[in-house]
């Protein structure tokens, strides 16, 4: 991860923040605006960060995974479903229900990771097709079960959606969260904190442990790795499953941390943007996180513009069309992929099945 990329990221985030500060400064002090933007950015970047980490594990081991979107969608649904079941059918308290939901989401992601590994490692299916199968399957299964379980007559919940047990509570980091104004940044929900922690852990695992060295070796040169006795298939299976579990946690963000409900297609391309973040981060955890924050900032801008809708000056009126701002993450992704902000170099054996 070179400094040019971090510079570009800082530049884009500064621009996005400045827009909101310029619009809102008449009513609210810039410090408060920047703090609130930063807190929102970190929170909404969570599924992107986790999705990108999923990509890092998979692709460092040599398996392309474009099924992150589907993994997150399925995990969001089954996590939510589990939380509702535990809460309304088994009568558990909201907190254990939510934690059970998170566990179910991670399990769902892990199972889909296993599925992707079976397809791409054992059956040597074209990995991009395999990912597409996961995406389509996730849309179909979640849409079918959502309607079958909740909206059909005679279904388990008798045609009405029961209330989910809320969302995961905020956690305040001691001392840091007590700082006036800026403390807001350290007052987040658990999956957000977990994502940041996992970025650090992934960096350590990949670059400072034997496991990481083996993972990178099967992604760069599986033949050489095999020759020195590393089990290529096992490493690929394990890393794709780990990646799937991270994507599952990212899916839990949607229905257990962000809002207490499920909607069909609610991941809305976040899995693909996460993939772009991973590429822009040059397959490194910290790079991927930084790129995820850029996309998070674009989304935070969209959210914050809603607050200042009344006070937007006429020369900024075009920003009122939320569609224009909504395009930013997608355009940014395409610009990043051109490689004009630094060449993107994937692991050498990325996407290639290994024949023993």
């Amino acid at each position: 991860m070179d400094w040019r990329r971090f510079g570009f990221i800082a530049f884009i985030i500064t621009i996005l923040f400045s827009v909101v500060v310029l619009i809102g400064k008449a009513e609210i002090s810039p410090v408060v605006i920047v703090t609130s933007m930063l807190a929102t950015t970190i929170a909404v970047a969570t599924p992107l960060t986790l999705g990108a980490l999923c990509g890092v594990y998979c692709e460092r081991a040599g398996v392309v995974n474009i099924g992150i979107e589907g993994m997150m969608l399925a995990a969001a649904f089954f996590g939510w479903l589990t939380a509702i079941y535990m809460n309304t059918v088994f009568g558990l308290a909201p907190m254990p229900s939510l934690l059970g939901g998170v566990a179910a989401a991670i399990l769902t992601g892990g199972l889909l990771g296993l599925f992707h590994a079976v397809l791409s490692v054992t059956f040597k299916v074209d990995q991009i097709i395999g990912g597409t199968v996961i995406n389509i399957l996730a849309v179909g299964i979640t849409g079918f079960l959502n309607r079958q379980l909740f909206f059909e007559k005679g279904s388990i919940f008798g045609g009405n959606v029961p209330h989910a047990p809320g969302v995961l509570p905020r956690i305040q980091i001691p001392l840091l969260a007590d700082i006036p104004v800026v403390g807001r940044i350290f007052d987040q929900q658990p999956i957000t904190f977990a994502a940041i922690l996992l970025v650090i852990i992934t960096h350590f695992v990949l670059f400072y442990t034997r496991w990481g060295l083996r993972t990178r070796s099967v992604g760069e040169h599986p033949r050489a790795a095999d020759t020195v006795g590393i089990d290529v298939y096992f490493m690929r299976y394990a890393n794709v499953i780990i990646g799937g579990m991270l994507a599952g946690l990212g899916g839990a963000y949607f229905t257990l941390e962000s809002v207490p409900s499920f909607e069909p297609l609610m991941t809305n391309g976040r899995g693909f943007i996460a993939l772009a973040a991973m590429i822009f981060g040059n397959w490194t955890p910290f790079g991927a996180w930084a790129a995820a924050l850029v996309f998070g900032a674009a989304q935070a801008l969209q959210i914050n513009l809603q607050f200042f809708r009344e006070s937007i000056p006429p020369q900024w009126a075009f920003l009122q069309i939320s569609y224009v701002v909504g395009l930013a993450p997608y355009l940014l992704t395409m610009i990043i992929l051109t490689g004009i902000i630094g060449k993107n170099i994937p692991p050498a054996a990325d996407g290639q099945p290994y024949e023993k």
């Binding site: 474009i66 079918f144 079958q148 909206f151 992929l337 051109t338």
Partner: protein
């Protein structure tokens, strides 16, 4: 002196070359469909439904009456175009996940030409001019939408899988902006995001009065033939297939690979644009937000099920159309949500893509050559 067999051989050979890959390849796709239906039946039973009633309803709704057949053909028209779009790109070594966006953009353009052009020109256009204009501009819009990721792929290496998906979301945002804003139907009774109805002169008529099946279906079949001709009978087609099979060899053989990649994507987008255009000019007579949700992904499954061959694509599109059309009747009969069709179609895609699974279950030996579909980020 030549024997009669050899004299007639050019035509026969050409027909056989058209049929043989399909006949050879039929085994795995048929078993894939069968297996997906069985697994789908298990899911229906698991969710508390009756799989046999479901499939009876599906069959009745798809093929049980002249009206059902007509509706299946109506569903099949965009599927054939979109499936051909994805198949053509696959042949050129490109994975076009963006048929959805190209389709939507084509539909918007066709609708615009359809309802606004007579007003701009202040004349009533005759149908034989207005229809080709609307269809042509719709197709061009799709081509343009796909040429952008094509050019990015050729000249910067930006991967088309992600870029076409991004273009989908951009098309979705743009369409909802246009249909809620500048292109919204001004009729005071209108409460949804849709364009005004297109002029009578831009409407493609139905084939039989009383049924909705329209000439767009015939056009789809003709275009399938044209795609086959393009791929196997023209220099451009040869270049597309060579670049798809081995870009390095293509480069050394003197083919301009960058130009071919852009052209392949543009042609692919043209076909996807036609899918949206036909829906507007021959069926809905306007563009409405969200009518095309899912066509893009279905098109991938259709292209793969059809082994990326035009004839296979037509057959696969008819199957998918029958399932979509029959799904409504199935839901009516058994209260099983029509979404199960998406699950079955995803399973079909799974078993076709992972044909090793099918070969393993049914103990079939690998026969046909594998088509290289996609490559990693580097290629």
């Amino acid at each position: 002196m030549q024997s009669s067999e050899e004299r007639t051989s050019p035509q026969t050979k050409s027909i056989m070359r058209f049929l043989r890959p399909t006949l050879n390849a039929l085994g795995v796709p048929l078993l894939a469909v069968l297996t997906a239906m069985i697994v789908g039946g298990l899911i229906i039973a698991f969710a508390g439904g009756d799989p046999f009633m479901a499939y009876i309803g599906l069959f009745q709704g798809a093929l049980g009456s002249p009206r059902a057949l007509s509706e299946t053909a109506v569903w099949a028209s965009p599927y054939i175009f979109a499936g051909l779009a994805v198949a053509l790109a696959f042949r050129g070594g490109l994975f076009n996940i963006g048929a959805e966006g190209q389709l939507a953009f084509g539909a918007v353009m066709a609708a615009l030409i359809g309802y606004a052009l007579p007003g701009w020109l202040h004349i009533d256009l005759p149908a034989f001019i207005h229809i080709p204009l609307a269809v042509g501009f719709g197709a061009l819009a799709g081509a343009l939408w796909a040429a952008i990721p094509g050019a990015l792929k050729a000249y910067t290496g930006g991967h088309e899988v992600i870029n076409t998906i991004m273009m989908n979301y951009i098309a979705l945002n743009l369409t909802s902006f246009l249909l809620n804003g500048p292109m919204r139907d001004p009729n005071p009774l209108n409460v949804i995001a849709r364009t005004p109805g297109i002029a009578e002169s831009a409407r493609i008529p139905p084939i039989f009065s009383g049924f909705r099946v329209h000439w767009g279906f015939i056009l789809a079949l003709l275009v399938a033939l044209a795609v086959w001709w393009l791929l196997w009978k023209t220099t451009l087609g040869f270049e597309i297939r060579t670049v798809g099979a081995n870009p390095d060899a293509a480069k050394y053989a003197g083919i301009d690979t960058k130009r071919t990649i852009v052209l392949t994507m543009a042609l692919s987008g043209l076909l996807a644009g036609l899918a949206g255009t036909i829906e507007v000019t021959a069926l809905n007579y306007r563009h409405e937000l969200g009518f095309s949700i899912g066509y893009g992904f279905d098109a991938i499954a259709i292209a793969l099920l059809g082994k990326t061959h035009p004839l296979g694509v037509v057959l696969a599109a008819l199957l998918f159309a029958a399932m979509r059309n029959g799904g409504t009747r199935m839901q009516f009969l058994t209260q099983i949500p029509v979404d199960i069709i998406s699950v079955i179609q995803a399973l079909i895609l799974l078993f076709v893509a992972a044909d090793a699974i099918i070969r393993y279950i049914y103990r079939i030996r690998a026969r046909e050559e594998r088509v290289v579909l996609t490559r990693g980020w580097g290629g």
